[in-house]
């Protein structure tokens, strides 16, 4: 990859040549990204048992082949607010009439662009995010009127300033020790500061009614998610894990309301399939759960390996997937203060992100998933450079050992280079799992 990708306007002022080089790079990255996305869709088409209602979600992600044009459906004049991680309250964005887009990224090609901003050891996710922010590869990264970035891990903490040349950045300070009373009060203040900022961007004050409606909208989405997860418990499986990842990933870019409708259709289809006895994996497929660093489209490397080898991902513990919409806001009195408090609590207190000091929430969540989904083996995915998840590995390993569930750690990034090596290891792992029956 060409290295001189400093896209600050000043650096480009040099003249024609540099500009064309930048354009060359952009074109190359767009082409590569579109090729890798196409490859994914071609592979998925081979799968004849795929639920038809997946088309809606395919439709969103397939737009990555065309510079992301039309991925987000913001109306004219509607402000687009980019978010990272799982701590940015979408209810507030919706209530103010904005359009939230989650920008967490999974592209190997944009990660190569992002390498110019970050040290080698940085996790590929932040690299990929930087790449998309700095270069017009996917359209919607350039459409954001503001991006909200929680200071979760250290990479994210420092990414704010790096993003500043390209975006209007709002940092959110997420407290680390959430048991402390002051931490909670402080976080509630952070949420209010965010609210004020969003209101300024959209020019609309949030009133009680709009906030309640926005909360209700997300709750309805969560109700479908809940139904979906219940259906995933079925054995033999009725939906592939990679499709489940896709469904949640599509939520990043879609509006909550139509997305909920589409998921409800998918759920209906899956329910019908259970009645008809149609399933996507043989009853003997090894039931695998994923945990660790998040997987974001189009980084479907590991899910494809697992499911091509005949395993089935029945659950995951990713902030980009199953954990994204699992925790719920509980409106109690319905006053403005009550709702904001409820929102603030929902995004931090039950969150199992390893950037918090305690691991108990994550341990309990994993133990519960293992039981509920009859998980036979866990694959712990560590993105190279993702320290928070790497640090917690031992704790989770011990927990699973106690529960008698085998675990495989894989450390990888977004590049396709290690696919064969991963395949060999995952194959061996799945064999031991079937051997244990």
């Amino acid at each position: 990859m060409d290295n001189n990708v400093n896209s600050r306007p000043a650096a480009m002022a040099g003249g024609e040549k540099k500009l064309t080089r930048k354009e060359r790079i952009i074109n190359k990255v767009r082409l590569h990204l579109s090729m890798s996305v196409r490859e994914i869709f071609e592979k998925m088409e081979e799968d004849e048992t795929r639920p038809r209602s997946m088309a809606y979600f395919d439709n969103i992600l397939a737009k990555f082949m065309h510079e992301g044009k039309g991925v987000i459906k913001a109306r004219a004049g509607q402000k687009v607010i980019g978010t990272y991680c799982v701590f940015v309250p979408e209810e507030i964005i919706y209530a103010a009439g904005g359009y939230p887009v989650r920008l967490c990224a999974g592209s190997h090609d944009s990660a190569e662009v992002g390498e110019d901003f970050l040290p080698d050891v940085a996790c590929p996710m932040v690299k990929s995010e930087m790449g998309f922010a700095a270069m017009p590869i996917l359209e919607f990264y350039q459409q954001c009127d503001m991006v909200a970035l929680p200071a979760s891990c250290h990479w994210k903490l420092k990414m704010g300033e790096m993003l500043e040349p390209f975006d209007d950045v709002h940092m959110l300070d997420v407290p680390r020790v959430k048991e402390a009373e002051r931490a909670r009060v402080y976080w509630l203040d952070e949420v209010k500061r965010f609210q004020a900022r969003v209101e300024k961007i959209t020019g609309k004050r949030i009133r009680r009614k709009q906030l309640r409606e926005a909360i209700g909208m997300i709750q309805r989405a969560q109700r479908e998610v809940h139904r979906f997860q219940e259906l995933r418990k079925h054995s033999p499986a009725v939906v592939l894990g990679r499709d489940a990842l896709e469904v949640l990933n599509a939520y990043f870019y879609d509006e909550a309301e139509p997305w909920t409708g589409a998921l409800s259709e998918l759920n209906d289809e899956l329910e019908a399939r259970i009645e008809q006895g149609i399933h996507v994996a043989p009853p003997r497929a090894t039931r695998i759960m994923l945990t660790g660093s998040p997987m974001v489209f189009p980084n479907w490397k590991v899910p494809f390996i697992i499911e091509d080898l005949g395993g089935i991902i029945v659950a995951d513990e990713f902030c980009t997937s199953q954990r994204y919409l699992s925790d719920m806001v509980s409106v109690d009195e319905g006053t403005m203060g009550d709702m904001l408090h409820a929102i603030a609590d929902r995004y931090v207190l039950p969150c199992a992100c390893p950037t918090f000091s305690n691991t108990i929430e994550r341990r309990d969540r994993i133990a519960r998933l293992v039981d509920d989904y009859q998980v036979e083996g866990v694959i712990y995915h560590v993105l190279k450079g993702c320290h928070p998840f790497d640090i917690e590995l031992k704790i989770i390993e011990n927990l699973l050992q106690e529960k008698g569930v085998p675990m495989l750690k894989i450390e990888t990034d977004y590049s396709p280079e290690d696919v064969e090596q991963l395949r060999t290891r995952i194959e061996a792992f799945q064999e031991t799992l079937s051997g244990r029956r």
């Binding site: 209700g216 109700r223 259709e265 009195e333 006053t335 403005m336 039950p350 309990d364």
Partner: protein, 324 residues
């Protein structure tokens, strides 16, 4: 069924029974562990504390005889009520509790935000009710043995904010005043009026403000361990999301924080069951009666309660086509 609505109905029925029951010849006895104020002319049952204080105002030797047996009998009836209904007395029956809940409804209707105690303050004030309980035992004993003036008779009743208010519901305004007979009566009845004022003002910032200081709650909570109602938490299912803590009118933090204690009927808990309703995690919280779980936290029910009627999302274009 929405438990909070059910609770309001039960509270209202109890209110009518306790305040007007006498008019229909209903009598639930005068050992009730709740503020069924004895000063209400034709009440349907009486508060335990008034008789209790009078019974204690005796010279000590008398307790060795008949007086002692009478006292034990009274306490026995109280204990029975306390074991069977626990502190659901407070959450579901107490007329004074209902009044506070109604004021809270008025506050939320006016969309006035709640304010909370800091955790440390909450902990500190919790002991006030035990001090009051100790005083309402010691002062009558002091009177009975000639150590304290008779003006302090039934000291808690004199300062109780329910005494000026509840008789009003039968049109009796005679209790709504300060008794200037002597300095003690003036102090005590004055305190009652101040507490009434506090009840009305604090209702616009807090829920059940006076309950945290109620000696009846202190007395009832002595029976927490043996009560038939219990709140059970399955710690490994709880995500510590804090929803229960926010919903709790008594600001009980243990309900969220604890992952290991099984029975969570804590000192201040009034068994209103709001926490179970606010819990979004399947079976994390459970309310039981005599070992039988009659209510469990449930994600689906939670969501239904939360967003009420507009449950169906808008149909997508594809769905619309299908319907045609």
């Amino acid at each position: 069924m929405d438990v909070q609505r059910l609770r309001l109905i039960v509270q209202s029925i109890a209110f009518i029974l306790l305040i007007y029951g006498g008019l229909f010849a209903i009598d639930l006895g005068n050992r009730l562990p709740t503020f069924a104020c004895a000063y209400v002319p034709d009440n349907g049952g009486g508060c335990f504390l008034v008789g209790f204080q009078h019974m204690l105002s005796r010279p000590l030797p008398q307790f060795m005889g008949e007086q002692g047996i009478r006292l034990l009998k009274a306490i026995g009836i109280f204990a029975l009520w306390a074991v069977v209904i626990n502190k659901a007395w407070c959450g579901w029956i107490c007329p004074f509790g209902l009044l506070q809940d109604l004021l809270t409804k008025l506050r939320t209707w006016l969309s006035i935000d709640l304010s909370r105690f800091s955790w440390i303050a909450h902990k500190r004030y919790k002991s006030v009710k035990y001090i009051l309980l100790a005083l309402l035992i010691l002062i009558p004993l002091g009177i009975g043995n000639g150590l304290i003036s008779r003006d302090w008779t039934a000291p808690f009743c004199q300062m109780c904010p329910a005494r000026p208010i509840l008789p009003l519901f039968q049109g009796d305004v005679s209790e709504f005043m300060i008794d200037f007979t002597s300095i003690p009566t003036m102090l005590l009845t004055g305190a009652a009026i101040i507490l009434v004022g506090l009840m009305f003002t604090t209702a616009f910032v807090k829920r059940r403000f006076l309950c945290s200081y109620c000696p009846m709650l202190a007395f009832l909570s002595l029976f927490d361990k043996v009560g038939l109602f219990s709140l059970k938490k399955y710690g490994d299912l709880c995500t510590r999301c804090g929803n229960c803590f926010r919903a709790c009118p008594m600001e009980i933090r243990e309900i969220e924080e604890e992952k290991s204690i099984k029975n969570l009927v804590t000192q201040d808990c009034i068994l209103c069951l709001r926490c179970v309703e606010a819990c979004p995690e399947n079976q994390a919280l459970e309310a039981r009666f005599a070992g039988f779980a009659f209510m469990k936290a449930d994600a689906k029910a939670f969501l239904n309660r939360q967003h009420g009627s507009p449950a169906k999302p808008k149909p997508t274009p594809a769905q619309k086509k299908k319907n045609k």
